[in-house]
């Protein structure tokens, strides 16, 4: 994250822009928006030193609603945009946001390789197991027998993508799961994720009340992971937890110490005319 912090802490609402969200009333993403503003305020990040980067989808609208710099790019490419920005501007606090379709389906390859590359940024995926913006199709994290998606009326019949286990296997350095209904708890985890050097993957279960109204129950189903299991640095232990907890444990589930990807950007020559030497006869 950016080291230059404010002398005076801003209020979370000062990180919100004047644009009114397009989200449906009751959408989990409102909670995540609040958590992001609380985390930025808590970390005293100067709004001009943060950039929120996204692709396409309901949750990808996030940058517009914040008073930081933002980039709302094309579908699936948020992590690539964010990697380019962070690599060229390591001084910035870079946060990528998006949904499960954007991140794990069309953007799946970038997800694997960003975990692997380990740039110092945070990825917040608001997972609601459905494509909301296109009005209710199954997503990569949808359960196989969900039959209300019109493109897959008999259910997808295929196992859901397990983002956190895959993040771990791909080399993500910080892995957490949160609930959008716990705005303060999510903010606390985001603060740690942003502070952690390297690629931090935060899955926020964020209900789609329009196409998956049953997800309103998530707030009663999700539970904090047992303390002994939290923040392990043992990938085998983390893998066991992530592959067996049925997606209900929240908290920081893995913290690694892999080196951060950040090429040095220091010039070693005074004049680009020095390049001409290699061509001269």
């Amino acid at each position: 994250m950016n080291d230059e912090t404010l002398n005076v802490q801003l209020q979370p609402k000062q990180y919100k822009s004047a644009v009114k969200p397009v989200w449906c009333p009751g959408c989990g993403d409102f909670g995540v928006l609040g958590s992001i503003t609380k985390a930025l305020a808590g970390l005293k990040v100067q709004p001009e030193n943060a950039a929120i980067i996204s692709g396409i989808g309901c949750s990808s609208r996030m940058p517009t609603y914040l008073s930081t710099y933002g980039f709302h790019g094309v579908h699936g490419r948020a992590l690539a945009l964010a990697t380019g920005l962070k690599t060229a501007r390591p001084d910035l606090t870079v946060i990528a946001t998006g949904g499960d379709g954007d991140g794990f389906s069309i953007g799946g390859n970038h997800f694997l390789h960003t975990c692997r590359r380990n740039p110092d940024m945070t990825y917040i995926v608001m997972d609601n197991q459905v494509y909301g913006m296109t009005k209710g199709q199954a997503s990569p994290t949808t359960e196989p027998n969900w039959q209300r998606g019109k493109l897959t009326p008999a259910g997808t019949g295929i196992n859901p993508f397990q983002p956190l286990a895959i993040a771990l296997a791909s080399g993500a350095n910080f892995i957490a799961r949160c609930s959008s209904s716990d705005s303060n708890g999510t903010a606390r985890i985001l603060m740690q994720a942003i502070r952690h050097p390297g690629f931090s993957m935060v899955q926020v279960l964020s209900p789609c009340v329009t196409f998956r109204p049953e997800q309103r129950e998530w707030k009663n189903m999700l539970i904090a992971a047992p303390v002994a299991m939290q923040a392990t640095s043992d990938p085998a232990e983390a893998a066991r937890l992530l592959l067996t907890d049925e997606g209900i444990y929240t908290g920081i589930l893995y913290v690694g110490e892999r080196p951060v990807y950040q090429p040095k950007l220091e010039s070693s020559i005074d004049d680009i005319a020095e390049f001409e030497e290699e061509f001269r006869i």
Partner: protein, 580 residues
């Protein structure tokens, strides 16, 4: 003055070292005061397979292949068959081969020319670590009048990585070849050029594009390996860190272009390089750069398409996708270098334009420029004054996408850079209002479309939009790598008193109707030359410009290059009696 020139082809197979031999020959010729260029022809094999180094040496700079070859060195006779169509010969061409090499006992394809035997394999065996290609090099030097010493003077540069033993063995082989060549005919074509005082470079089109990028200010590159752009990326990967920049090897082309846009959004001029298949993958996001008004340079080193096509060979067939591949109304820049040397200027100019106009610039180089090495005069270092327009201070409300205002009515609105307090905005691929907030209002769409078009249409591009040469009422219009042979054809005609104009477009988009009308003023006959089967350039010209002249088309797909006499033949009836 008539161009003094000599064309040589070296063919070999299975790691016979023709490319090394060709490089040594070219560099040695440069040391001797000549110009020239070498292009490579190879199959898809990574190691082995047939390969040809095609070289033209000359007294003056040239980037055109000749009509036919004067000398072929078939290090291995089997290898010549594959290149029969690529190496046109005459009855008086010399073919030096080795009767004892090859699986078919030195059998050559049925081509014109005088076949001479040189026991390269046998001679190489008499020297420890000796190789037939170095025997060939010595013999070539003897035949063309290249001083032996000029070859030795480039050993250190070309063979350094191979160690002192190889250099020693090579020297002995060249000497043996030079002595053995005493019995061969001499081709007295090139007199030693007296141009040793001019600063000259040995550079490939890919290196030239890389240098242009760095001169233009590029400090971030993200790319995915692809033939024939890979050497450009390799050069940049080694060179960018020296100027505080970086090349990121991305996971695919979708990531490449988006990383470039992300870096550029952060204020760092950024570029990606690719070839046709990669450009196709990038098109959606190039539209993002256009819509969000983020400078980005995309360098396409074209190869034969469609699909995977012929990855190692040249074609001018990505013009359509570069001009029209983006969805929606997405005005952007398309440029093309007109020579290997011009890869420096055109790439540098593309960076300047993309940065100044806050949009995407696609540069269309191709395999025949990118992978060819030429001996050229030092390309001038041009500095452009205009850079990206960044606000110095902010009003109470900052309108990133203001359609007019502090940037004037140019359509270019000041672009704040993350870190600038008060300049926060969201760059967006959604249509947006002046503040950058998403908008589906028709008036915002019209205003932003108009702004994005105006800024590139009304920019003053100056004289660089095309290379214009000659006078007369007949013109040849072309672009990119086809310019070299056209230029030589017209130069030959000029020798014979026929003045024909050359129009070679460097700026393909946006269209320049006024400049083109001036360039075509008084033209009665127009020949269009392009290397595309589906007449992409011709159709573009017909759609974009009023040609108002009797028009002929000479088009052909890649990979065979145009030769000057073919272009002269296309002008038959339009010029007087010409000898080709």
């Amino acid at each position: 003055m008539k161009l003094q020139a000599l064309s040589i082809a070296l063919t070999g197979s299975g790691g016979s070292g023709v490319m090394t031999t060709g490089s040594l020959l070219l560099e040695a010729a440069a040391k001797a005061g000549w110009y020239g260029f070498m292009s490579r022809s190879a199959g898809p094999q990574i190691r082995g397979g047939e390969a040809a180094a095609v070289i033209r040496l000359s007294s003056e700079p040239t980037e055109s292949p000749d009509d036919s070859f004067d000398l072929v060195l078939a290090i291995d006779p089997d290898s010549m068959t594959r290149f029969a169509t690529e190496i046109p010969l005459r009855a008086d061409s010399l073919i030096i081969s080795d009767a004892e090499a090859g699986r078919r006992g030195g059998c050559l394809p049925d081509v014109p020319g005088q076949v001479l035997d040189l026991p390269m394999k046998k001679l190489a065996k008499t020297i420890e670590g000796g190789r037939p290609n170095m025997i060939a090099l010595g013999a070539i030097a003897r035949v063309i009048g290249l001083p032996e010493a000029s070859i030795y003077s480039v050993f250190e540069k070309i063979l350094k990585s191979k160690g002192p033993d190889v250099i020693e063995a090579s020297r002995a082989c060249v000497q043996a070849g030079f002595n053995a060549g005493a019995g061969l005919p001499v081709i007295e074509r090139l007199t030693a050029a007296a141009d040793l005082d001019t600063e000259r470079w040995s550079i490939t089109g890919n290196e030239a594009a890389g240098l242009g990028a760095i001169r233009g200010g590029i400090r971030f590159v993200a790319a995915y390996p692809i033939t024939p752009a890979t050497e450009l990326l390799e050069w940049l990967a080694a060179s960018l860190p020296r100027v505080g920049g970086v090349l990121v090897q991305a996971e695919d082309e979708l990531a490449s272009i988006n990383q470039v846009i992300g870096a550029s959004f952060g204020g760092t001029p950024a570029l990606t390089a690719t070839s046709g298949p990669g450009l196709a993958l990038m098109t959606e996001s190039i539209g993002l750069a256009v819509c969000a008004e983020v400078p980005a340079v995309i360098l396409d080193v074209m190869r034969c398409g469609p699909s995977t096509g012929i990855a190692t060979k040249s074609e001018q067939s990505d013009l359509n996708i570069a001009l029209n591949g983006l969805h929606g109304d997405a005005p952007h820049l398309v440029l093309a270098p007109t020579s290997i040397t011009d890869c420096v200027f055109t790439t540098q100019w593309a960076v300047h334009l993309a940065e100044s106009l806050q949009t995407a610039a696609i540069v269309l180089s191709d395999q025949s420029l990118g992978q060819a090495r030429a001996i050229v005069k030092r390309p001038p270092d041009i500095s452009f004054l205009t850079r990206r327009l960044v606000p110095e201070s902010f009003e109470e409300t900052y309108y990133r996408y203001a359609v007019s205002g502090s940037g004037g009515d140019s359509g270019v609105s000041p672009m704040s850079i993350p870190g600038q307090a008060g300049g926060q905005y969201t760059a967006d691929g959604l249509e947006h209002n002046v503040a950058g907030a998403p908008s589906s209002m028709p008036e915002d769409h019209y205003a932003q479309l108009e702004k994005r078009e105006r800024k590139i249409n009304e920019f003053e591009y100056g004289q660089h939009w095309a290379d214009l040469e000659g006078t007369g009422t007949t013109a040849v219009i072309t672009w990119g790598s086809a310019t070299g042979p056209v230029r030589e054809a017209l130069s030959r005609l000029r020798e014979q008193g026929e003045d024909i104009r050359l129009i070679s477009l460097r700026l393909l988009a946006p269209e320049r109707p006024l400049e083109m009308a001036a360039a075509l003023e008084g033209i009665k006959r127009l020949l269009v030359v392009e290397q595309s089967h589906s007449r992409q350039f011709y159709r573009y010209l017909r759609a974009a410009y009023d040609l108002n002249a009797e028009t002929r088309l000479f088009n052909r797909p890649g990979p065979l290059p145009f030769r000057p006499n073919e272009i002269i033949q296309q002008l038959a009836g339009w010029v007087g009696e010409v000898t080709t």
